[in-house]
């Protein structure tokens, strides 16, 4: 194990993401497509690679064969060096306890204490597999060490009026956390937890084992572990994050996050060569923009063929936009095809969907974004 490798990341990737409907029918939420060529989980995994966090456990649960085999190819993120690795950690049968599902975020880690022991973890970095952001976890670890904290929680300043939707950290003037409130009706602070924690492993191990035995616990970091730390007077510090962060829990927010990328000044900046987002290496030729195509304000990736008009839209790998088709304010996921003269407005078109020639889907005045998950005939 290398020197800097004593922080092991554990990505919670078991979410169903049911508000993404058909997009999560066959894949877990962290595997949902995003940004033209990525999947959501590429972001925490690339962050790990770029932060020199070389051992990553991915805690999967629900319908995860695609997610499991996707993250298992750890060379996509350069996490295939000698002592590196992305390890898929689903619930499993054990000698003493038999078969069990993960009962909560903390329980998922508790059930993998043997993995953390085996990897000789010194620190544990708990991450969520379905948030989009760029963060240097090495810097967060530095902060954790410097403040002498028992645990460090990454926080984001949110508008105070929205703070009631988040887990809110109330801190003293040194950013020491004095209180944690889950979705408070009257928030006292605007520091929202991002669900990103660094713990000193040995101590966390004790808390987890205690929590496991507690029949009243929901085995959750926010609801159980953090309050226990606070109750014991442990030192919890807030690590303030500035920058783009998005939980794409709904079709509308997924659409918005994609649209954000078209803006050349967007904060996420996937063009930054010093913090690349790595993903699967697909075999696809470069995109082809045809003779009569008309492309503006668009994000388009390899394998696409555009013969029609694309405005303010994101095209994923291998999509085909036929002649005279119009794509407006939309997101077209991999391998989808839009037939001649069809018109797509304010939609997310799921992968492999075919929109027949002449078909019209979506509406420029619709309040919500339309998810097109099945083939559309004229």
């Amino acid at each position: 194990m290398r020197q800097n490798n004593n922080m092991v990341a554990m990505i919670l990737a078991g979410g169903r993401g049911s508000r993404l409907f058909e997009l999560t029918k066959k894949v877990a939420k962290p595997a949902v497509y995003f940004g033209g060529k990525y999947r959501i989980i590429d972001f925490p995994l690339s962050n790990c690679a770029n932060s020199s966090v070389e051992v990553v456990g991915v805690l999967t649960q629900y319908e995860s064969v695609l997610l499991n085999s996707y993250v298992a190819r750890d060379h996509h993120w350069g996490l295939d060096a000698k002592d590196s690795g992305v390890f898929v950690l689903p619930p499993r049968e054990k000698d003493e306890t038999g078969f069990g599902e993960y009962r909560g975020t903390a329980d998922a880690i508790t059930q993998n204490i043997d993995f953390l022991d085996q990897m000789k973890a010194e620190y544990v970095l708990v991450l969520s597999g379905d948030h989009i952001y760029k963060m240097d976890y090495a810097d967060m670890l530095e902060h954790h060490k410097k403040t002498g904290a028992d645990a460090t929680i990454a926080v984001l300043e949110v508008p105070l009026k929205e703070a009631n939707r988040f887990g809110i950290m109330n801190t003293d003037k040194n950013d020491i956390i004095v209180e944690f409130e889950e979705k408070p009706a009257k928030p006292k602070s605007n520091l929202a937890s991002m669900g990103i924690y660094i713990f000193e492993y040995k101590q966390l191990r004790k808390y987890l084992l205690q929590d496991e035995k507690n029949p009243d616990s929901s085995h959750d970091f926010g609801k159980d572990i953090i309050p226990n730390y606070l109750a014991d007077g442990k030192r919890l510090t807030a690590y303030r994050f500035k920058g783009y962060w998005k939980d794409v829990g709904t079709i509308d927010s997924l659409w918005e996050a994609n649209m954000d990328l078209i803006n050349p000044n967007n904060e996420l900046d996937i063009f930054d060569l010093d913090w690349k987002i790595y993903t699967e290496d697909v075999n696809a030729v470069p995109q082809f923009i045809g003779e009569n195509a008309d492309v503006n304000n668009a994000l388009i990736t390899q394998g696409c063929q555009v013969y029609g008009s694309v405005k303010n839209s994101v095209l994923f790998t291998n999509t085909v936009i036929s002649q005279d088709a119009k794509i407006i304010d939309s997101v077209i996921m991999p391998n989808a095809t839009v037939g001649r003269g069809a018109k797509v407005t304010r939609c997310i078109v799921a992968d492999n969907v075919e929109i027949a020639p002449g078909a019209v889907v979506g509406n420029k005045d619709s309040e919500n974004i339309l998810l097109v998950a099945k083939n559309v005939s004229k």
Binding site: G35, G36, K37, H75, L261, I262, P264, I270, F271, L273, K276, I277, Y278, T279, D281, N283, V285, P286, Q287, F288, I289, G290, E291, N292, A293, V295, N296, N297, A298, L299, I300, T301, Q302, Q305, V314, L315
Partner: protein
Amino acid sequence: MVDALGIINFEDSTADIEGLGNYRPVPAISFLGRYRIIDFVLSNMTNSGMSQIQVHIKEKPRSLIEHLGTGLHYNINSKRGKLRLLYGESKVMSEVYNHDIGSFIQNMQYIEDSNKPYVIIAPSYMIYKIDYTEVLKEHIASQNDITVLYKNVDNAKTEFIGCDTLVMDKDKHITSIEKNRGKYKTRAVSMEAYVLSKRLFIELVNRAANTSALYWFKDILREVCGELKMVGYPVRGYVACINTLPSYFKANMELRCPDIASDLFVEDWPIHTMTNDSAPTRYSKDAQVCSSVVANGCVIEGKVENCVIGRNVTVKKGAVVKNCIILPGAFIGESAKLDSVIVDKSAIVHHVKKLVGTPEAPIYVKRADRI
């Protein structure tokens, strides 16, 4: 799975891709925005299940060391297989001695050590798609000494100049090999790709070395033509020979078109390359792009027409780029108007207002130049 050692040979001095060829060996030259020339021959080999492959190069190994790596991205099992970059290690007195026979002899130990009974030799500068499984199967069944890939063309008067052409009888037995001097329209152009037993290969290499210190492998083949049973094997589909700057320009331009490209890029025969992890390309509200191939990572704000644009290229608002090949990382500034220009990697075209070449004589802008 093909039971043959792959040898990617280097080009002789008749191949001269001026400008681009000064900075890297031909196999490392960027092609169609995303690829390097060597990706095509290498993907042919690995898609055919070959896992022991030697790449012989004449000079400047650096760019290929990085592009090839250990071959994982070409699907070579790093334990069982081996992608080996071989490079003449002794100093060559004069450029004329820097030939393939010299490289084969210097690295003969690696050829002999291979446990494969056959070798398949091919240069990188011929671009086409072939399944060597079929070729080797036929080679073995027919008990020929040497199988030579060729392509029937009807533009030999203007293309493939300097290439070998095969003269064959009706059973495709090769009776002689002649240089294409542009005299005839239709010719059977040799792909300079050969299938033969390892034993015969080693024998011919030694024979070439003993015949003349200046002989290339193709020279000895020309000589043994009558003596050995050499048979042609036709290549179907698109073929390009990248041996001059205009032919490089032409092949890029042809393969822009999905109709032609679909001949070379098919789903079950992927062309592997080293990924760059570039973001998708962003088109601004002012972008005007048509009839172009664009790689990932670009920011396009200007006008692009009939172009091949490499990875991470910027075309600023106001720029007009027509019939151009822009290599990865180049920057085209606001006032630039380019027509029939090849801009090499990381060049910055900023202070030049207008550059106009022709397809027959495209203008070349040097690597990392600032103009």
